[in-house]
C-alpha cells in the first residue's frame, strides 16, 4: 500500500459519501486507513467537505432528504471507524464542539431537528441526539454527561414551544445557564420568543442554525479569552 493508494481510497470515500453509499464508504475508509492514510486528515479533508457539499445541495434543493440522510448515516459510520483507529493508535479525537440536540417534551416532530443534526455533523461537530419528546431535565443531564458545549432544543408545534422555556428556566435554576450555549429553533418559535426565554441563538432554517452556532461559539471563545 502506498500514499497514492491512500489518496485513491480517499477519493473513493468522498465519492461514496456524496452518493450516500454506506457500505462503499466504509470499505473505502478501511482501505484508506490500511494504506496509511492520516485518520484526522480523512475526517477534515474528505468526510467534512463531502458532507458539507451534500448539505449545500440539499439547501439548493438539488438533492432531497433521503440523500442527505444516507450521506449523514454513511459519514457517521465512517467517523466511528476513524475514531476507533485514532484511539487504537493512542491518539485522541478533538472535536470542535459537542452539541446535545433534541425535540422538547410534548413534541414528536423531529425532521427539522434531524436535518440540523445531520448538517452539524457534516460540519465536524459531535452531535448527541437525544431524540424527541424530551423533558427539560434530560437535555441538561445529557449535556452534563457528555461534557457538551451547546444545547439545541427544537419545537414545531405551537403548544410545545414552552418546552424550550423549560430548558432555559431549568438551566438557570441549576446555575448552569452560563455553562452552555442554548440554541432554539422550529416552526413554533421566532426571534422574539427566543429572546423572551433568554436563549443565546435562534434560527428559522437548518443552514442558519449551523451559521448561528459557528458565530455563537466564536463569540463565546472570544469572550473567554478576554
Amino acid at each position: 500500500m502506498t500514499a497514492q493508494d491512500a489518496q485513491e481510497e480517499a477519493r473513493h470515500l468522498g465519492s461514496a459519501l456524496t452518493k450516500g453509499d454506506r457500505e462503499a464508504a466504509l470499505a473505502a475508509v478501511r482501505r484508506a486507513l490500511g494504506a496509511g492514510a492520516d485518520p484526522l486528515a480523512l475526517i477534515q479533508e474528505v468526510i467534512v467537505p463531502s458532507l458539507v457539499e451534500v448539505g449545500r445541495r440539499f439547501e439548493e434543493l438539488e438533492v432531497f432528504l433521503p440523500e442527505l440522510m444516507a450521506s449523514g448515516e454513511a459519514g457517521t459510520a465512517c467517523s466511528q471507524v476513524i475514531e476507533e483507529e485514532i484511539i487504537r493508535r493512542g491518539g485522541e479525537l478533538k472535536v470542535e464542539a459537542t452539541i446535545v440536540i433534541g425535540t422538547v417534551r410534548g413534541d414528536i416532530h423531529d425532521i427539522g431537528k434531524n436535518i440540523v443534526g445531520t448538517l452539524l455533523k457534516a460540519h465536524g461537530y459531535k452531535v448527541i441526539d437525544i431524540g424527541k419528546d424530551v423533558p427539560a431535565a434530560t437535555f441538561i443531564d445529557a449535556a452534563e454527561a457528555n461534557k457538551a458545549d451547546v444545547i439545541a432544543a427544537s419545537a414545531l408545534m405551537s403548544i410545545t414551544r414552552a418546552g424550550c422555556r423549560e430548558v432555559a428556566d431549568l438551566l438557570r435554576e441549576r446555575n448552569l445557564r452560563e455553562k452552555y450555549l442554548l440554541l432554539v429553533g422550529g416552526g413554533s418559535l421566532d426571534q422574539a420568543y427566543a429572546s423572551e426565554i433568554g436563549a443565546d441563538g435562534y434560527s428559522s432554517t437548518a443552514s442558519g442554525a449551523v451559521e448561528q452556532l459557528k458565530s455563537l461559539l466564536a463569540r463565546s471563545r472570544e469572550g473567554s479569552r478576554t
Partner: protein
C-alpha cells in the same frame, strides 16, 4: 371485518409488527418510493403542474397502494411496522363514506365525493388551518371566516397562550385552552347567525387529551363537528393519535385524516411524494376511520405548497384518489405571503383552481406557511371558495387549470426567497366591525380582475 375488530387488530399489529429503528424505516420508505416512481413511470414536468394523464393518475394510485402494503405504517412508540394486505386496504377504502353531513340544522351541508373535473362545486371548509393565533383576537379571527359568503364550515387556529401564559401540551393548560377555544369557535358561528355550522377541529389541542377535551355538545364541538387525527412524516402514527379514534367514533364525530407530506422530504421529489400521499390517504381510511381528509402538502424549505412541486402533488394525488376511490377529501393551500398582499391571493387561486378540477373540496388557508402569528384572515379563505366556485362555473378542464396556475406563478414565485408576510388580522381588518381594511379589499378586487382576465367567470363577491 367489523369496526371493533379492525380497531383491535390495529392495536395488535402495533405491538406485534416487525421491530425497526425509525431511521431504517425512513430509508426503506425513501428507497421503495423511488423504485415505485421508476417502475410505474411517474413523471414530473414543471410545465404540467396539473397533469391530464388519466393513466398516470391510476399508476400513482397503484404505486401508492403498493408502497402502503410493502413498507407498512411505522408506529413511533413501539418502533414496530404495522403491515396490512392489499385486500385489507381495498376493503377499508370500500367501507369509507362517500357522502357526509357536516354541521346541523339549517347550516348543515352535504359533502360528497368529487370526481376529476366534477361539475358539482366544492364546499369551502376553512379557517386559520392550525396556524398560530393570539388569544386576544381569536374570536374576531374565527368570525372573519364564518361570516364569509363562500364559506360552508370553519376549522381552527392554534392559540399560543392561556390568560397570557404559555400553553403546554399534555397539561391542564392544554385542556383549559381547548375548552376556551372550542367555545370560542361555537360563539363565532353563533355570532354570524350560523349556529349549526360545522367546526372542523380545535387545533390548540395537540394531544389526545386535548382533542377529547373539545367534546362538549353545549359549548364545544358536537358530534356534527370534527377532530383531526394526524400522521407524522411519513406514514407514521403513534398511540396518542390512535387513541382518539374510538373516542371520536363513539362521540359520533367526524374523523379528519391530517397528512403533511414533505416535498423534498423522505418521499423525495414531487413524483415520490404523490405516491407517499396516496399511501397516507389509505392509512387514514384504514387506521383512523377517517370520514374526510386534509392533504396539507408542505415544501421542506419554504413550508408552502404554492410552488410547482406542491401543485403537482396536489393534482396527481387528487386525481389518483378521485378516480380510484369514493372518499371525500380537501386541499389545503399553504402560502409564502400574507394578508394585504396581492401575492397571497394569487397563491391561493392557483391552488384552489387545481384542487377544484382534481376532486377536492376546499380547505385552508395556511397564510405565511404558519410562520407568523395572526397573519391569516377570512378574506383569503372566502376568496378561495369564490375562485373554486368560478372554476366549476367555467367548466374548467385540467388543461386550462394548468394554464391559469402557470400564468399566476410568476406573480408570486419571486417572493419565495423574500416573502411578503403582510399584516396581522388586527391591521388587515377593522376589528370592531370585523371588516377588511380598504387596502386588503383593494388587493381582493385587483386579484379578481386579473383572474377574470384569465377566464374565471365570477358572480357577486363580498368586496366587489
Amino acid at each position: 371485518m367489523t369496526m371493533n375488530e379492525r380497531l383491535v387488530e390495529i392495536f395488535r399489529r402495533s405491538r406485534a409488527g416487525t421491530f425497526m429503528k425509525e431511521a431504517e424505516y425512513d430509508l426503506l420508505l425513501a428507497r421503495r418510493a423511488r423504485e415505485l416512481v421508476h417502475d410505474y413511470e411517474i413523471h414530473f414536468d414543471s410545465q404540467q403542474v396539473c397533469p391530464t394523464d388519466d393513466a398516470m393518475a391510476d399508476r400513482v394510485f397503484e404505486a401508492g397502494l403498493q408502497l402502503f402494503t410493502d413498507v407498512g405504517i411505522y408506529h413511533l412508540d413501539t418502533q414496530r411496522v404495522m403491515k396490512f394486505t392489499r385486500g385489507e386496504a381495498l376493503e377499508a377504502l370500500r367501507q369509507a363514506p362517500s357522502t357526509l353531513h357536516l354541521g346541523e340544522g339549517a347550516d348543515q351541508v352535504i359533502a360528497s365525493h368529487r370526481g376529476v373535473e366534477d361539475s358539482t362545486p366544492s364546499l369551502n371548509l376553512t379557517g386559520p388551518a392550525g396556524q398560530p393565533c393570539s388569544e386576544e383576537h381569536y374570536l374576531e379571527m374565527l368570525i372573519s371566516y364564518a361570516q364569509e359568503p363562500y364559506v360552508e364550515a370553519i376549522e381552527s387556529g392554534a392559540t399560543l397562550t392561556y390568560n397570557g401564559a404559555d400553553i403546554m401540551a399534555g397539561t391542564l393548560m392544554e385542556v383549559k385552552a381547548v375548552q376556551r377555544d372550542s367555545a370560542t369557535a361555537r360563539e363565532a358561528v353563533r355570532r354570524v347567525g350560523k349556529p349549526g355550522m360545522h367546526i372542523g377541529d380545535c387545533a390548540t389541542g395537540m394531544t389526545a387529551i386535548g382533542k377529547m377535551a373539545a367534546s362538549d355538545p353545549l359549548n364545544g364541538l358536537r358530534p356534527c363537528d370534527g377532530r383531526l387525527i394526524a400522521q407524522m412524516c411519513e406514514l407514521k402514527t403513534n398511540d396518542d393519535q390512535l387513541a382518539r379514534v374510538p373516542h371520536l367514533i363513539n362521540y359520533g364525530s367526524h374523523r379528519i385524516n391530517l397528512m403533511t407530506p414533505l416535498t423534498g422530504g423522505i418521499g423525495g421529489g414531487p413524483e415520490g411524494v404523490a405516491v407517499v400521499s396516496v399511501a397516507e390517504f389509505i392509512l387514514g381510511v384504514l387506521c383512523y376511520f377517517a370520514t374526510y381528509h386534509y392533504l396539507s402538502i408542505t415544501h421542506i424549505k419554504w413550508t408552502n405548497n404554492s410552488d410547482p412541486w406542491g401543485m403537482y402533488v396536489l393534482a396527481m394525488t387528487g386525481q389518483a384518489m378521485a378516480r380510484n376511490t369514493h372518499i371525500v377529501m380537501t386541499d389545503d393551500p399553504f402560502t409564502m405571503c400574507g394578508p394585504c398582499t396581492d401575492e397571497l391571493l394569487y397563491e391561493v387561486a392557483g391552488h384552489a383552481i387545481i384542487g377544484e378540477v382534481c376532486g377536492y373540496h376546499q380547505h385552508g388557508v395556511g397564510s405565511t406557511g404558519g410562520n407568523e402569528v395572526d397573519h391569516h384572515t377570512g378574506l383569503e379563505a372566502g376568496f378561495q371558495g369564490e375562485v373554486a366556485r368560478a372554476a366549476t362555473r367555467a367548466h374548467l378542464t385540467r388543461e386550462r387549470a394548468n394554464e391559469i396556475a402557470l400564468a399566476l406563478l410568476p406573480r408570486y414565485q419571486d417572493t419565495f426567497k423574500n416573502p411578503k408576510r403582510g399584516k396581522p388580522l388586527a391591521e388587515a381588518y377593522d376589528l370592531r366591525s370585523i371588516t377588511p381594511t380598504q387596502e386588503w379589499q383593494d388587493c381582493y378586487r385587483r386579484a379578481k380582475e386579473e383572474l377574470t382576465r384569465l377566464g374565471l367567470p365570477f358572480e357577486n363577491g363580498p368586496y366587489d
